[in-house]
C-alpha cells in the first residue's frame, strides 16, 4: 500500500535536504503532462535534487518510498514519457546542468543530464565543434531526455540520432548502485557487455542518468539551404527519392504539408512561404569547394521532379529564419487546437505518398484535421491530429486513426517510433511489433535493472505496473 502524501513529504525532504520538494496543486500541475498535453497525471510530489550527489542520495532511498519514481528533464517528450501515469514522485533533474569538460582533440564532452541541448551547442561552437542531434525542442530539452528517448531531429538524416553519439552513461539504479557504462572512449569500460546500449532510449525505465560522455564533430564549413514547393504528394516523394540517393548526402530532408505551411505563415514566424503547396526543405553542407559545386545539381533534382519554385541560400540569417519557422511549426499547433496528438512512425520511403494519402483519407473521414511536418529523408512521419479532448468522441476518433495508421505502417515494413520513444502513448501498439520471443526479450531488460517496475511504470510496455 503506497504511503499517503502526507507521510511521503517528510521523507522526500529528508532525501533532498538541499533541493526542493513541490506538493501544492499549482506546483504539481506543471508536471501533470508532457508536451503532448492531452492526457494528464498529477504526481503525488515533485523533487528537485540540488545536484548529482543529492540525486544519488534520493535514488538510494527511493525504493523504500514504495511509490513510482519518474525521472524528468524539461518535459518536452511527445509520447507521454515523463509523466506519473501510476502516480508517484517526479524527479526533476534541471539542477544537474554542468558542462564538465570539453576535449576538442578527443572529440568528446562530459555533461550532466540537465544541460539544455542548445546550451551545449553554444558551448561547443567556440571550439569549432558540434553535437549533431537536433530535436525541435533544442532551446529547452535536456540531454537527459534526449538520451532517454534516443532523440533525433532534422539533421539526423546524415548525422544520425542520439545513440550514434553517446560514448558513456553514468547511471543510478534503484538498488542504490552507481555505474559508469562506457566513458570518453565510448567502449564497454571494464564490463564484459556494452550495457549503455540498453540505457540509451530506455525512457527512464531502467535507471536515473547523472552524466554522459558525448561524441562531437567539427562544424561544417559552409551550408546551403533549399526550399521547393510541390503540387502533390507523388512529385514531392520523387524529389525525396532523388535527394536521398545523391552523393551530396544532404544533411536534412524535411517536408511540410500545405496545412503546416499555412499555420507557420499565419504566425509571427511567417517567412513568406507559398501556402497551397507541399514544401520540401533540404540542406547540404561541407567545405566551400565541394558544397558550392553541388548547389546546382541539387536544385536540378528539385526542379526535375516537379517544382516550379526552388529557392536556395547560403546566407545564415535567411537559412536560420527558415529553420526557425520549421522548428516552431510543431509548437504552433498548440495555439490553434485545444489538443493535438503526434505520431512518430518510420516507414520505407517508397511508401511515403501512399501512407500520407491513407492518413489524410482516414482523418478527413473522421473530421479530424491532420497536419504533417516531418523528417522525410528518414521516412520519419509526424502526423499531428488536432482535436478537442473535451468534445465527446474526439479522442476515440484520433486513437482509432492512430491504430489504423500504425497497422498500415507495420504492414509497409515500418515501425512505431523513430525518435520520440514509446512512452504510454504508443505502448499499446507494442504487441503488433514484437512476436512472442522478441517480446520476451523486451521484458527481460527492465526485469534485469528495475524488476519491480518502480521507475516510470506503465511506459514502453503497458503491463509494466509497479506493485509495492
Amino acid at each position: 500500500m503506497p504511503a499517503p502524501t502526507s507521510a511521503l513529504l517528510p521523507r522526500l525532504h529528508a532525501l533532498v535536504p538541499r533541493g526542493r520538494v513541490f506538493s501544492s496543486p499549482a506546483q504539481l500541475a506543471g508536471y501533470a503532462s508532457d508536451a503532448l498535453g492531452y492526457k494528464s497525471y498529477t504526481p503525488d510530489a515533485v523533487v528537485l535534487p540540488a545536484d548529482a550527489e543529492e540525486l544519488a542520495a534520493f535514488m538510494q532511498g527511493a525504493r523504500s518510498l514504495g511509490v513510482p519514481v519518474i525521472l524528468r528533464g524539461a518535459g518536452t517528450s511527445l509520447s507521454g514519457g515523463p509523466v506519473a501515469a501510476q502516480g508517484g514522485v517526479v524527479v526533476h533533474t534541471s539542477s544537474l546542468k554542468a558542462i564538465r569538460s570539453i576535449s576538442p582533440d578527443g572529440f568528446w564532452c562530459e555533461v550532466e543530464c540537465g544541460v539544455p541541448l542548445n546550451t551545449l551547442d553554444a558551448a561547443l561552437k567556440p571550439h569549432g565543434l558540434f553535437y549533431p542531434p537536433d530535436p525541435s525542442s533544442g532551446p529547452v530539452c535536456t540531454l537527459g531526455g534526449n538520451v532517454a528517448t534516443n532523440a533525433g531531429g532534422a539533421h539526423c538524416f546524415r548525422y544520425g540520432v542520439t545513440s550514434n553519439y553517446v560514448l558513456g552513461v553514468e547511471a543510478l539504479l534503484l538498488d542504490g548502485s552507481l555505474h559508469r557504462f562506457g566513458g570518453p572512449a565510448g567502449g564497454r569500460g571494464h564490463w564484459r557487455e556494452d550495457w549503455k546500449r540498453f540505457m540509451i532510449g530506455s525512457e527512464g525505465t531502467l535507471a536515473a542518468f547523472t552524466r554522459f560522455w558525448l561524441r562531437l564533430l567539427p562544424l561544417p564549413e559552409k551550408v546551403w539551404t533549399f526550399r521547393a514547393t510541390y503540387p502533390d504528394l507523388r512529385s514531392i516523394e520523387a524529389a525525396i527519392h532523388g535527394l536521398v540517393a545523391h552523393s551530396a548526402y544532404p544533411a536534412a530532408i524535411e517536408m511540410l504539408d500545405p496545412r503546416a505551411v499555412t499555420i507557420v505563415e499565419n504566425s509571427p514566424m511567417a517567412v513568406g512561404l507559398p501556402r497551397d503547396s507541399f514544401l520540401l526543405l533540404t540542406e547540404i553542407d561541407g567545405p566551400a569547394p565541394l558544397v558550392d559545386a553541388r548547389v546546382e545539381p541539387i536544385a536540378e533534382i528539385l526542379r526535375s521532379t516537379g517544382s516550379n519554385d526552388v529557392a536556395f541560400s547560403d546566407q545564415d540569417h535567411l537559412r536560420q529564419k527558415l529553420w526557425k519557422a520549421r522548428k516552431a511549426a510543431g509548437g504552433l499547433l498548440g495555439q490553434i487546437s485545444p489538443d493535438f496528438l503526434v505520431q512518430d512512425a518510420v516507414i520505407p520511403k517508397r511508401a511515403l505518398a501512399d501512407i500520407l494519402q491513407f492518413l489524410y483519407d482516414e482523418a478527413d473521414a473522421a473530421s479530424i484535421p491532420a497536419v504533417n511536418l516531418f523528417h522525410a529523408g528518414d521516412g520519419n512521419l509526424h502526423p499531428n491530429f488536432l482535436f478537442d479532448s473535451r468534445k465527446p468522441g474526439d479522442l476515440e476518433k484520433v486513437e482509432l486513426i492512430s491504430a489504423r495508421l500504425m497497422q498500415r505502417v507495420l504492414d509497409a515494413g515500418g515501425t512505431l517510433s523513430g525518435e520520440h520513444g514509446i512512452g504510454n502513448d504508443k505502448a499499446a501498439y507494442m504487441p503488433l511489433v514484437f512476436g512472442p520471443d522478441s517480446l520476451r526479450l523486451q521484458w527481460a531488460v527492465p526485469a534485469a535493472f528495475n524488476p519491480a517496475h518502480q521507475l516510470n511504470p506503465l511506459k514502453v510496455l503497458t503491463a509494466r505496473r509497479f506493485t509495492p
Binding site: 564490463w191 486513437e399 504487441p431
Partner: protein
C-alpha cells in the same frame, strides 16, 4: 482503446534489396565480396568491411568499427536489423528495416558484437550508401611531426566529414597516413588538391592513387586485436603496439586501433602480454579491447545478475 491482438509469431526479415531506402537484407554468412557485387548493381555500397573473403558475421564478431566508420559511424549505426537464432533454437527478429527506431529496448546494439554468447545471427539488414563511382587511396609519408601536423586539418577541418577514412598505419615500416576518398569523379580533383595542400603545409609527401571501379572493399583483413580509446590517444596506442612488431591500423577519428598479427602469433600466449599493460588505461577511459582469438573475459560481479536475467529470457522456450 481496444488492445490490439498480440502477434503469435515473429515478423522475421526476408531477403530484400530496397534501392530507394538504400537498405538490404542478406544472410549472415554473405562475404564482403558477395555483398559488394550485390550492392554495386544498385549503385550502392556497404563501406564498413575489411576482408573480402570474410562473412558479415565474422566481421561483426571481430570488430566494432571499420576504416570508413570515420565517415559513416560504427557497425552498430549501420546494421538496422538481425534475424537472431536464440539458444533455444527459435529465431527472433531484432531491430527494424527502416533507418531509425526508438521502438523498445535496443537489443540490436547489445547483441551485434556479442559473437556466439547469446545465440547467433542468421540475417542482417544493412544500411547502404550511394556509390559515387570514384575511389582513391592517398598516402602521406613524412616525419612523426609532419604526420601529426597533417592529422589536425584532416580531423578538425571542414573536410573531415568527406574523407571515407583517415588511418594511421604503424608497425609495417615507417608510419604513414592513409586517407580513403569516395566521391563523384568530377570532385576528385578537389579532394586531391586539398590533400596536396595539407601535405605540403606539413612538409609531408602525398601519393594519390585512384582505384578501379567498382571499388573493392578494404583489404586490411580482419583485425586480430581491437582496442578502443579516445581519438587523441589513438596514434600513440598504435605506436606502442607497433614497437612489438605488430602492424596497426589506427582509425584516427573513431579512436580504434586494429592490430594485425602474423598467423603464428595470433594466439592467447602472444596476445595477452601485449594487451595486459594497456588494458587499465583503456578501461579507465571507458574504452576496451577484444580479440577474435580469445574468449570474452568473465563478467564483472555487478553484471552477473543482469546477465542471468537476460539469459533466462534468451534460453526460454
Amino acid at each position: 482503446m481496444k488492445a490490439p491482438q498480440p502477434l503469435t509469431s515473429e515478423r522475421l526479415f526476408t531477403e530484400f534489396v530496397d534501392p530507394v531506402d538504400a537498405t538490404l537484407c542478406v544472410p549472415a554468412n554473405t562475404t564482403a565480396a558477395q555483398l559488394q557485387a550485390q550492392t554495386a548493381t544498385h549503385h550502392l555500397r556497404f563501406p564498413l568491411l575489411a576482408d573480402p573473403a570474410a562473412s558479415l558475421a565474422e566481421h561483426f564478431a571481430a570488430a566494432t568499427h571499420a576504416p570508413a566508420s570515420h565517415r559513416f559511424g560504427a557497425h552498430c549505426d549501420n546494421v538496422l536489423g538481425i534475424n537472431w537464432r536464440l539458444p533455444s533454437g527459435r529465431t527472433a527478429r531484432i531491430g527494424e528495416r527502416v533507418v531509425k527506431t526508438t521502438t523498445g529496448y535496443d537489443w540490436l546494439r547489445f547483441l551485434l558484437h556479442s559473437g556466439s554468447r547469446f545465440g547467433e545471427p542468421l540475417d542482417y539488414v544493412l544500411r547502404l550508401r550511394p556509390d559515387s563511382r570514384f575511389h582513391a587511396v592517398a598516402r602521406i609519408d613524412g616525419s612523426a611531426t609532419s604526420l601529426h601536423a597533417c592529422l589536425h586539418p584532416l580531423l578538425r577541418g571542414g573536410w573531415m566529414h568527406w574523407w571515407d577514412a583517415v588511418d594511421y598505419i604503424a608497425g609495417d615500416g615507417p608510419p604513414f597516413l592513409r586517407i580513403a576518398i569516395h566521391c563523384p569523379p568530377h570532385e576528385a580533383d578537389a579532394f586531391q588538391n586539398e590533400l596536396s595542400r595539407i601535405a605540403s603545409q606539413s612538409r609531408a609527401q602525398l601519393t594519390f592513387t585512384p582505384s578501379a571501379f567498382p571499388s573493392a572493399p578494404s583489404t586490411d583483413g580482419l583485425p586480430d586485436i581491437v582496442l578502443k580509446t579516445t581519438p587523441d590517444r589513438t596514434t600513440a596506442l598504435a605506436d606502442a603496439l607497433a614497437r612489438h612488431s605488430v602492424r596497426c591500423v589506427a582509425l584516427c577519428y573513431s579512436g580504434v586501433v586494429h592490430a594485425h598479427l602474423p598467423p603464428e602469433r595470433a594466439r592467447a600466449e602472444h596476445i595477452l602480454p601485449l594487451i595486459q599493460p594497456l588494458a587499465p588505461d583503456l578501461h579507465a577511459l571507458g574504452g576496451d579491447w577484444r580479440s577474435r582469438h580469445l574468449p570474452p573475459p568473465p563478467p564483472a560481479t555487478a553484471e552477473a545478475a543482469w546477465l542471468r536475467t537476460l539469459e533466462d529470457a534468451l534460453h526460454a522456450h
